[in-house]
Subunit: 177 residues, 2 copies
DNA sequence: TATTGTTATACTCTATAACTATA
DNA sequence: TATAGTTATAGAGTATAACAATA
């Protein structure tokens, strides 16, 4: 009943190991339940909800790049999702007055209504699955810890930077193809 | 600059709200980095790694249903992933001596080697992104909290039960189609 | 009749590269 | 030349339902 694969790691202490597995497993389960709830209550995927929620939290409008950095990991993926949301009447896309290249994404009243529609169930799931076994002090500490972790991760190079390959004419020619 | 959508929820206090968002966002970022690391270091998806890790942690063998309950959310999805892993020589599938219906999934030496191969990088990512900004006491508390949450979630009805619709001949006939 | 697992199928989602347009 | 966004396309992954075999 030993676990030879995990007991000797180059870096992680056993305490970190079990913390890591508990965290990923718990969040995985939570995500799955949330996914079903959002689909059932408002016909939204998690990504779509995150886009709408980001817009709502930002006061109604963001550019595509701002959205991509916060929510999705490729620009084309966001374009796809934005297309679906626009077709559903939950957002609109229009030119930005500041920068002609940018697109301003705006949440519609229907979009806000949809968010409000799914929020109770969403909250209920979080309440039941996540917060139910936690004390107030647990919640406070967990929030403090995860905020610190999130800020730390956000300080790492952003996601939208990587896929954008900088290619000079020189390097392009050098590679031959 | 108000956030009318989120400020009045039926259930969640603001503290819970921010905890929830910090948790999901941080774990989302973590998952994305882990995904890239596993793909780069060992040509594995997260699900595939979880399957192999589950087998390794369980001592080498599990049935398909046990795996599905722990890792993936549909039986067919697991069959698909197991097919890939078997084709890659990382697991084998064979009959169970106890129950002729069951399939025993066994991790191969190559499978164990693959887990060991990706583990250092995996650990490095967790170290750098998750544990770096945390103190020992943070890790201990986080682990304690998330273990409690996970156990609580596991106590809820399992995933493999739901998709399996029980349909009696009667209810089938009654619905007409 | 219930459970284990597979298959066929259709669908969603994502990422890559090539492209247009503006800074 | 670099950045914002879209498009075409191809691939991975998932779930549903129907199926066969065993308990």
């Amino acid at each position: 009943m030993t676990k030879p694969v995990f007991d000797r790691g180059p870096g992680l202490a056993p305490e970190q190991m079990s913390t890591y597995f508990a965290l990923t497993e718990a969040v995985g389960l939570l995500q799955h339940h949330v996914e079903q709830q959002l689909r059932t209550d408002g016909d939204l995927s998690t990504v779509q909800f995150q886009i709408l929620a980001s817009l709502a939290a930002a006061g109604g409008r963001l550019t595509m790049t701002e959205l991509a950095d916060g929510v999705v990991y490729s620009r084309s993926g966001l374009t796809y999702q934005a297309g679906l949301l626009e077709k559903a009447g939950l957002i609109t896309r229009g030119p930005s007055p500041d920068d002609e290249r940018s697109i301003l994404v705006t949440i519609t009243d229907a979009g806000l209504a949809r968010v409000r529609q799914v929020l109770p169930g969403h909250v209920e799931v979080a309440e039941r699955l996540l917060f139910d076994p936690l004390s107030e002090s647990d919640v406070a500490r967990l929030g403090e810890i995860m905020t610190r972790v999130r800020d730390h991760m956000r300080a790492q190079p952003p996601r939208s930077a990587a896929p954008r390959k900088r290619r000079s004419a020189a390097s392009e020619a050098a590679k031959g193809d």
